[in-house]
Point group: C2
Chain length 94, copies 2
């Protein structure tokens, strides 16, 4: 698992909340996903795909590509661990 | 907004639950995202990106590309409306 504290610092450095919302549960536009509590493995998969850009298993996105391409795999692990750890403002119903 | 009933029928036709989980809250592998309750606009954005595949604003993914490429934009609207409508097994904490 990644380092949650470093993941938090990285999300501040990259200002992720400016689109994905202050608590990562309410994004600023419905075209941006809710991230808080999402699977860490999926978040890593997505960031690696944005880092790849064009090509197999890539995601070609001007906004997220710009943020993901400078990230090391360790930084991606840390960001994923942090976002997964966040309370989503939601609790299990049962 | 899309047609929720048709979206439900499409998710059954394409067997989305086989990876994303029976109720779309617990995917069968942590590398697959939780979808229930996600923003409909984001779900549409993601499916359209998988449909595009290579190129700007595309996502190149062998599994999701195969499912998304045959979908019409209307079908994508319907699937997004259905998944967004689903109770996530989660409720607001406050």
């Amino acid at each position: 698992g990644g380092n949650i504290a470093n993941g938090e610092a990285l999300t501040k450095k990259y200002n992720c909340a400016s689109c994905h919302g202050a608590d990562f549960t309410k994004s600023t536009d419905p075209s941006y996903p809710k991230l808080a509590g999402q699977h860490a493995e999926y978040l890593k998969h997505a960031l690696i795909a944005y880092k790849r850009g064009e090509g197999p298993n890539g995601r070609n996105n001007a906004i997220m590509g710009g943020f993901a391409k400078p990230l090391s795999n360790k930084e991606i692990d840390d960001i994923a661990a942090y976002l997964h750890s966040l309370p989503s403002g939601l609790v299990l119903q049962r």
